[in-house]
Subunit: 116 residues, 2 copies
DNA sequence: TCGATATTTCTACAAATATCGAAATAAAGG
DNA sequence: CCTTTATTTCGATATTTGTAGAAATATCGA
């Protein structure tokens, strides 16, 4: 996953309605949710939500599939894995997933990681 | 870490220069880097970078400390941990950090996580 | 105090983003 | 074919973001 895609994904999630929509889709699992249900649950007009779903879709974080009259959206877990993987590798001193409550992100033991 | 802060942090990282700057700061470790060095390495005018650093700072992802004439910036690993933790918990079906190469993000075993 | 260095704040403007009603498109069922 | 339902695209507008030169601020050393 290269930086360009990461930036797009981060930007896609960096908005109230989009983050909320994505969370709902993650909760919904593989079966996903139709656009209308998302709009209703989020309290956002259909046309507005459509705009946001397009952004998430364009960032590769969700997928669209028609089912009769409805368009079912679902989270793309692989993309999210890729994003988190990138953040842990590149923005977290490599370390991650070790500590108990926290997710890791070790401070590189003082200054062993100097500018070199 | 609540959604509002997460959105700010995601937005702060969702920009070419800011993501690059943050990566440099993570690599630099606890000793950090002065603003001028960052600007030079990124090939961005000082005033522009200053704007971006302010955003990262306002999102709580980096810290500023004066050292003589220079302002040294350094990554806040705890904030990054918090961000990644949030993403794994809320945007990743809970699962994470299990698989080999990937960072996890399990698809909730088919449809056991229906809308309910 | 003066000059050099490091960095920010100010300012102005171009570009991207968010919002949402209205019109257009797609599918299903008479 | 026409109507209803589900959703997107269009259009207009308000807001936010990104950019970078010029001026201001802070620190150091002579």
């Amino acid at each position: 996953m290269d930086a360009d895609i990461v930036i797009k994904a981060l930007g896609a999630l960096a908005q109230e309605h989009r983050l909320a929509a994505f969370r709902l889709l993650v909760q919904a699992g593989a079966s996903g949710l139709p656009a209308g249900v998302l709009a209703e649950r989020l309290g956002v007009p259909n046309s507005s939500l459509s705009f946001h779903l397009a952004q998430l879709s364009h960032a590769g974080l969700i997928r669209q599939e028609r089912q009769g009259r409805s368009l079912i959206y679902s989270a793309d877990y692989a993309a999210m894995s890729g994003l988190i993987g990138y953040l842990m590798e590149n923005c977290c001193a490599g370390a991650a997933c070790g500590s108990d409550t926290e997710s890791g992100c070790a401070p590189a033991t003082s200054d062993e990681r100097k500018i070199a």
